[in-house]
């Protein structure tokens, strides 16, 4: 047994802010009043506003203590499959905090926002180049919003042809939000099973594609971490019947600068800047989910568009076919600055190399663990690999137990029980961030846990043992939620 990274240490308890506060405490002093006091209209007053009185020290200690309970990508390896928890380089933060960007007001006139508009214009062009698509809108606020944008574009396209359709094909290896995005747009999702190789078969698509089907939503690489090798043929079948192809770009980290999405038949693709382009994520946002399109869909992109004319940048609203506005002001601009910083730092060769290393790392883990964990699809993977608990379930050890035990070893658990096509799935995405030493340590931890599963299953049922709180009762939390504060 190797030495574990996970150890115990002094961690301080922390109350809710409401329990910490005491009447009369203040965080700061108001400036001297230099206008007359005016009573507030009683209509706007309420007496049930429960906000605790706190000093600055109260607040700082509260959040600092909570932060010590946390585990982030700055703490250690975070192989959460399909989430691309790559390291967020600190230079991104530095660029985003430059006063010209951080202090820019969204209502400044165009003449005083040239730098911000130029950045958006250039970022759109870079993302188009990286994906192979023709045009990009940076408006969508996050991944699922980008999916909805893509669906609205497909809807607008069919409407413009005077022939709206009602169904969308969605493979069982697509991201979970895809059917919801299609349904939100009024389309009925038509599920299609992946084949024995874990990818789409052209026959299955041909069997369901018809004149009432608006298109297909494909996640490529898919949620099994496999490249959809029949993508071009699938796209041809959909196009031949007048449909369009939506690509979910959440797994773009495997193929930056490697796959030309337009070439393989994608008409519209969303990206997650907060995954592939190293902007922070996992804390609830903000994200950014740009949508990239080919020429056919460009007229429908949301307004305003950033345009360059006579060396000046401006926002263009006059686009009659546009689906409208999807987001206030400029979208999540601060996130765009971070992604732009990342793209410029890496350059075209660096981005390509990042994808190659992400794929290499996942394949390395797959090869080093497949003798001990069940690998449902034993073939080269892309940026993530999917195991199951099949070999451990005989000892009554489940995926959840394995994931919880990993915490004791000092690793964030992988994604579990997804994709649904693999029972007890363990979905590992190391990203390019991790060096071989750290990956080897993770592999050793997984191997040690497999050993414990055989020799001492009870240890795994009780894990984690070193974290501040041990195994949480997720079922009770969901059945009888108690939200305090």
């Amino acid at each position: 047994m190797t030495e574990k990274m996970g150890t115990t240490g002094l961690i301080l308890k922390e109350k809710l802010l409401w329990e910490r506060g005491k009447t009369g405490r203040e965080g700061f002093s108001f400036p001297r009043q230099d206008v007359d006091q005016t009573p507030m209209d009683p209509e706007f007053a309420r007496d049930d506003l429960d906000i605790p009185d706190l000093s600055e020290v109260d607040v700082i200690r509260h959040f600092t203590r909570l932060s010590t309970w946390n585990f982030g990508v700055d703490t250690g390896m975070y192989p959460l499959g399909s989430c691309t928890m790559k390291y967020n380089p600190k230079t991104n933060e530095r660029q985003a905090s430059l006063p010209g960007f951080a202090g820019a007001h969204p209502l400044l006139p165009e003449s005083l926002s040239q730098g911000a508009l130029e950045l958006m214009y250039n970022l759109e062009r870079y993302l188009a180049e990286i994906t192979g698509m023709d045009a990009v809108s940076l408006q969508p606020a996050a991944g699922a919003h980008g999916e909805l944008a893509g669906m609205l574009l497909i809807y607008a396209y069919h409407k413009s042809k005077g022939n709206q359709r009602h169904k969308i094909i969605i493979p069982d290896t697509a991201h979970g939000t895809n059917p919801a995005s299609a349904a939100l747009c009024g389309y009925t999702p038509v599920p299609v099973k992946s084949n024995e190789r874990g990818v789409l078969s052209t026959e299955d698509i041909a069997a369901v594609m018809d004149d009432d089907t608006a298109g297909i939503m494909v996640t490529n690489p898919n949620t099994l971490g496999l490249f959809e090798e029949n993508m071009k043929e699938v796209a041809d079948i959909v196009h031949a019947k007048g449909g369009l192809v939506y690509g979910d770009g959440a797994n773009m980290n495997a193929v930056m600068g490697i796959i030309d999405m337009k070439e393989i038949g994608i008409d519209v693709l969303h990206l997650n800047l907060h995954k592939t382009f190293s902007t922070p994520h996992g804390g609830g946002g903000p994200g950014s989910g740009p949508v990239c399109v080919n020429k056919i869909l460009e007229p429908f992109l949301p307004v305003p568009r950033v345009e360059k004319k006579d060396g000046k940048f401006r926002l263009q609203y006059n686009r009659p076919d546009a689906i409208g506005r999807l987001m206030t002001f400029h979208g999540h601009f601060g996130i765009m600055v971070r992604a732009y910083s990342y793209i410029l730092s890496m350059g075209p060769d660096g981005l390509k190399k990042a994808s190659q290393l992400a794929v290499l790392n996942a394949n390395y883990i797959k090869e080093k663990l497949k003798d001990i964990y069940h690998l449902p699809f034993d073939r080269p993977c892309m940026h993530e690999c999917v195991f199951s608990d099949k070999h451990q379930s005989g000892n009554k050890v489940s995926t959840l137990d394995i994931a919880k035990r990993l915490l004791d070893y000092g690793f964030h658990p992988p994604t579990v029980y997804f994709p649904l096509v693999v029972s007890g799935a363990i979905m590992i995405e190391p990203t390019e961030t991790e060096c071989k030493d750290d990956i080897d340590q993770f592999i050793q931890a997984m191997r040690d846990i497999a050993g414990e599963a055989k020799e001492n299953p009870e240890l795994l049922h009780k894990s984690p043992e070193k974290t501040k709180v041990s195994r949480l009762d997720e079922a009770a939390a969901a059945r009888k939620p108690c939200l305090a504060g």
Binding site: S393, K396, S398, L400, Y417, S423, E474, A475, A478, R479
Partner: protein, 132 residues
């Protein structure tokens, strides 16, 4: 996780491919999910039920069951009208885990065609299916 040999599979209910059970209660048919299904799903936290009075075809989705792992659809083993739902599951969905064939029943259906029940699997056939 249970071994197949540990599964509770009563003789007096019929079984479907989707792991629902259906039991003739002298006219109306009670429906729920099998011990195997609840074991696979894990701790169940919510059961979404249909409206009483709604009618469904065989194979229609009549509700969903949400566990800590995933949300799964529930499918009608037979055609018919919903005459009752197990309102007790709203506060205590865990009964589906602890008592899948009794306290954990989900709906009661007035069948459109009583013959449909006979076409479902009996215990032996269901057990064969589980063993693959």
């Amino acid at each position: 996780m249970k071994e197949i040999s540990e599964m509770k599979l009563p003789d007096n209910v019929k079984y479907t491919d989707d792991h629902e059970w259906a039991k003739d209660e002298g006219g109306n048919v009670k429906i729920g999910i099998t011990d195997y299904a609840q074991d696979q799903l894990g701790d169940i936290v919510f059961v979404e039920m249909p409206e009483v009075g709604a009618t469904y075809e065989k194979g229609d989705e009549f509700g969903t069951v949400e566990s800590v792992k995933a949300v799964s659809e529930l499918f009608m083993p037979i055609c018919g009208e919903i005459v009752a739902i197990n309102e007790g599951l709203e506060d205590a969905p865990e009964q589906v885990n602890s008592d899948p064939y009794d306290g954990g029943w989900m709906i009661s259906v007035k069948p459109s065609d009583t013959g449909e029940l006979d076409a479902l699997m009996d215990k032996a056939a269901y057990l064969d299916m589980l063993k693959g």
